[in-house]
Symmetry: C2
Subunit: 219 residues, 2 copies
DNA sequence: CTCGAAATACTCGAAGTCGAGTACTCGATC
DNA sequence: GATCGAGTACTCGACTTCGAGTATTTCGAG
C-alpha cells in the first residue's frame, strides 16, 4: 500500500490539510470540495482512503483518535507528523520548481492522427475547436465573476493556468485546421496516399515514408 | 484484465500498429520506439502486455500464431479484427474531437501553492522558469533539425503542440513571478499572514479568508 | 574463438486507481 | 408519523500500472 512515493498529488493535498488542523478523511474530501480543489486535484473516495493509509505507513501522518459519535460509522482523525511537515514543503517545492513530463490524451491523439486520414481528421479538429471555444467562454465567465466577488487572485491562479493552456490549444488547433484545409500542411499528399492504401487493406510502405524520420533524429 | 475501456492510449497505439500489419508485442514496442511515439505515449512492458491481453479479451485483436524461432522465447503474433478496426477510428476520432479534462501536476501544485509562502514560492517559480527555458531551447533545436531533414510536418505536430503548451506555461510562470515580485498579486498580504501563522503553529483563520470563495461561486 | 554487452521476448508480484455499494442518520414533507 | 432524499463515513474488489527481473541469443572487439 505504500504510495509510489510522490505520485498522487491527492496525498500532497491531504498533508496540506493536516498542516492546517487534524481531520478525518471524509472531512478532507468535503473541505477539498468546498474549496474547489477537486477541479485541480483528482479526488475519489477509494484513492483518498488508500492514500491516507499509505501516508500513515510512511510515518507522515498519525492516527489521533478514533471516535464513534452516536451510531455513525467510526471516524479516524489524523494529524501531521514532523516528517510530514517537511515532506509537504519539500514535495510542493519540487512540484513547483521542476516541470514534469505529462502525457496528455490529445498529444497521443495527434501522434496517431495519421490513421484517420486528412478529411476525417479535419472534421474532428473542427469539432474540437467548437468545444474548446464553448469551454473557454464558460471559464472566462467564471473567472470574471470570481473577480467581482473580490476573490484574491492567489486563490484562482490554477484556474488561470488551465485557461491559458486551453487558449493555446485552441490556437494550435485552429492553425492546424487552416493548414489542412488549404492543403499547406507539409506531407498531406503522402498522408492521403497512406490512408487510402490502409483502408484498401494493402500494406502501405510506411517504413519508407517514415525512414527519414528515424534517420533524421539523434537517438 | 479488461482495459477500463478507452483509458490507456497505449491500447490505441497497439490497435494502430496492427492496422498496419500483424505483430508481436515486443515488435510493437520496438516500432513505437523507432518512430518516437514513446515521447507522446507512455510505454512500458508490463502495461503493454496486459493491454494486449485485454484487447484480445475484448475481441479487438486475435492471436494469429505462436512461434518459437530457434530457442528464443515464444512470440505471439496478433492481428486486428473488424471490430478492432472500427474501434481504432472511433476511439481516435473521440480523442481528437472531445477535449478531455487532464489533471496536471503543476495545476495541483499551483492550487496548493499557498502552503509555501510567497518567498519560497517565488524562488521555486524562478527555478521552474529557468528549467522551462532550457527545455524550450532544446525542443526548438530538435524541431528545426527535423525541418532540415525534410521531415513532413504531419509527423511532428504532436511535438509542436507540446512546445506551444510549454511556451504558454513559461509565459504564465513569468507573469506570476513578476506579480509576486512587485507585490501586485492580489491577496499577497493575506498570503504572507496565513503562511506565517501556519509556520508558527497557530491555527489560522483560513475559513475566514476563504469563505468569500465558497460563497462567490455557483455550485 | 571467446567474453561481455546489447538485444530479444517476456513474466511476475506489489502497489495503485476507481467508483459503485453499504449502512446509518437527520430533517423536511406529505 | 412514515418516508424520502440528502448527507455522513467509509469498504470492497475488480481492474491497472509499474518496472525490476529472467533467460536466452546474437554480435563485435580483442
Amino acid at each position: 500500500m505504500t504510495v509510489r512515493r510522490r505520485s498522487n498529488p491527492l496525498a500532497l493535498a491531504v498533508i496540506g490539510l493536516l498542516y492546517e488542523r487534524p481531520m478525518h478523511p471524509y472531512e478532507m474530501a468535503a473541505t477539498l470540495r468546498e474549496r474547489r480543489k477537486e477541479e485541480s486535484i483528482k479526488l475519489n473516495y477509494g484513492s483518498l482512503y488508500s492514500v491516507v493509509q499509505s501516508l500513515e505507513k510512511q510515518g507522515l501522518i498519525v492516527t489521533q483518535e478514533t471516535r464513534k459519535d452516536g451510531r455513525r460509522p467510526e471516524r479516524t482523525v489524523y494529524g501531521l507528523t514532523e516528517r510530514g511537515r517537511v515532506e509537504l514543503l519539500d514535495w510542493l517545492s519540487e512540484l513547483v520548481s521542476i516541470p514534469a513530463r505529462e502525457f496528455t490524451q490529445f498529444e497521443a491523439a495527434l501522434s496517431l492522427m495519421p490513421y484517420l486520414g486528412p478529411d476525417q481528421a479535419l472534421r474532428m479538429l473542427l469539432e474540437r475547436a467548437r468545444r474548446l471555444e464553448t469551454e473557454l467562454v464558460g471559464s472566462q465567465a467564471v473567472l470574471e465573476q470570481a473577480g467581482e466577488v473580490k476573490l484574491p487572485r492567489l486563490m484562482v491562479v490554477e484556474y488561470e493556468y488551465r485557461l491559458a493552456l486551453r487558449r493555446t490549444e485552441l490556437g494550435f488547433v485552429n492553425a492546424l485546421i487552416r493548414d489542412i484545409a488549404d492543403g499547406s500542411l507539409e506531407g498531406i499528399d503522402a498522408w492521403r496516399r497512406l490512408h487510402d492504401s490502409l483502408e484498401a487493406g494493402t500494406r502501405p510502405d510506411i517504413e519508407g515514408e517514415v525512414r527519414s524520420w528515424n534517420a533524421g533524429r539523434p537517438s
